[in-house]
């Protein structure tokens, strides 16, 4: 499969990269590891006129452990994240999540920034142009229908929205750890909680403004315990059918003081189940509470049939994953 033609540029600084990214004649894209972008371009899901190679900008791959937490550069590879001693010791869930992405070569190529900013996925979207050609284009490919939930035409118009699913492994873990991100754009920078990166809309899943680039992720010093569980049919290569990051902080005596329950693979962005968190807060971790929360959590999710498994299956697996995660917390 050949890549469509484009202009290729090597910026020397982040500033230059943001300018090149926002000033392209007809769509510019940022290249990091390329493992998501180039596949989308080969499938002609994206036909950018310009590719801006972020890897040409020096010093964007680093893991720096500082007083206010761990600073990670956007071009840090997943392999580096998975094998870094400091990450493994202080943030084992993050190290584990990075090791679950793809396989060796994909981890050596894939980057933190690229993994966070990966495109949403759908069984009707992530296909070759020939495969997609038998159906009218969907919302995400410029059309006005979603093949996951086709809405009937009323008065000649269709309604509905894109239901593509966010399947990143790192975002739920980093959000559960309370991470912040720094963005840099043509008009300066801004810092936001990482969850603000996601719009929770399938068609445009990231909140990045034109020309904006993820500059750094800051993970606060570790507190409590975090686990990440990834469910898929094969233990390598696959995206999660559903994944769960659970973060708990307990007071002496065992009362839960802080709870974060964040899923991936079940919505247009990482999904936080607030009710489940409320049920956990202030409680004592025992078999009764585990049963109660894990049998409830599926009701808070509305996954769509964007992969090979049904929404009902994902809801059921959500409860099972949460039970397994909570069991690890004892």
């Amino acid at each position: 499969m050949r890549l469509p033609e484009f202009e290729y540029v090597d910026p020397k600084t982040l500033r230059e990269a943001t300018k090149l990214l926002s000033s392209g004649p007809k769509g510019s894209v940022l290249l990091a590891g390329g493992t998501d972008l180039l596949v989308s371009m080969k499938h002609q899901l994206l036909r950018p006129s310009r590719v801006v190679n972020l890897k040409a900008v020096p010093r964007l791959a680093y893991i720096a452990n500082q007083k206010d937490g761990l600073k990670i550069g956007p071009l840090t590879s997943l392999h580096e994240l998975a094998s870094s001693r400091i990450v493994r010791r202080r943030y084992p869930a993050l190290s584990y999540a990075a090791a679950q992405v793809g396989a060796y070569a994909l981890q050596a190529m894939g980057t933190l920034g690229g993994n966070l900013c990966q495109g949403n996925r759908c069984r009707f979207y992530n296909q070759s142009s020939v495969w997609r050609g038998v159906r009218p284009p969907c919302f995400k490919t410029g059309g006005n229908i979603c093949h996951v939930v086709p809405v009937r035409k009323t008065n000649g118009r269709t309604s509905g929205s894109c239901h593509s699913t966010y399947c990143g492994d790192l975002a739920p873990v980093l959000i559960s750890l309370g991470s912040q991100m720094r963005l840099v754009g043509p008009n300066g920078g801004r810092s936001l909680p990482l969850e603000k990166l996601f719009t929770q809309s399938g068609k445009k899943s990231l909140s990045l403004k034109p020309g904006e680039i993820l500059e750094e992720v800051l993970v606060p010093p570790p507190s409590g315990k975090t686990v990440y569980l990834k469910w898929r049919l094969r233990d390598a290569l696959e995206f999660p059918l559903i994944g769960l990051a659970l973060h708990l902080e307990t007071r002496t005596g065992g009362k839960i003081q802080q709870a974060k329950v964040i899923f991936t693979g079940v919505g247009p962005g990482p999904v936080e189940t607030l009710e489940a968190e409320k049920m956990l807060m202030g409680g004592l971790l025992n078999a009764g509470l585990v049963e109660k929360v894990s049998s409830h959590v599926g009701n808070e999710l509305s996954p769509m049939r964007t992969s090979m498994v049904s929404p009902a299956y994902k809801r059921q697996m959500a409860g099972i994953l949460l039970k397994q995660a909570l069991d690890q917390m004892y």
């Binding site: 033609e5 290729y8 390329g34 590719v51």
Partner: protein
């Protein structure tokens, strides 16, 4: 528009004229004649196109040739030294780890990068390391055995 690419492949600096949308796989196979690197899925799933860039496995079908400039590229053709096969190549031949041979270059290069970092791996670790390299002949048992035999036989992989 074509422009000059300077690639450092198998210890040699090569200059070629190429377009920016060419992948490293296309340039290796079509412009440089290094057809040991295989094209299969072409979408980063199968690992047949694996080459080593700065010692780490990379999928050449998802790497732009322009982006590989200034980095050390090793393909299967560059593995043997003075006509002598690399211990991994020897092990694959001797242990019958090659059936149709299509996945072999990717398997061997992934294994080389892995063994350099983990000279004494367990069977489980070897399986995990090559989990991104698919063998459609399903000859995994022999492949894992061949890699383990190298790990057991030599303390350090030559060329590391």
């Amino acid at each position: 528009m074509k422009r000059v690419l300077k690639l450092y492949v198998n210890g040699e600096i090569l200059e070629i004229l190429s377009e920016p949308h060419k992948t490293l796989l296309e340039v290796l196979r079509e412009d440089l004649g290094l057809t040991g690197t295989k094209r299969a899925c072409d979408l980063g799933t199968c690992g047949a196109c694996t080459v080593l860039i700065n010692g780490k496995p990379h999928l050449s079908c998802l790497t732009l040739a322009a982006d590989a400039q200034g980095k050390e590229i090793l393909t299967i053709e560059g593995l043997s030294q003075d006509g002598e096969l690399h211990p991994l190549q020897k092990a694959f031949v001797e242990q019958g780890a090659i059936q149709c041979g299509f996945c072999t270059p990717g398997m061997i290069l992934t294994a080389k990068a892995f063994l350099e970092k983990h000279p004494h791996p367990s069977e489980e670790e070897v399986k995990k390391a090559i989990s991104g390299n698919l063998c459609r002949c399903t000859g995994y048992v022999k492949i894992v055995e061949a890699i383990l035999s190298v790990a057991r036989g030599v303390k350090e992989v030559p060329g590391s």
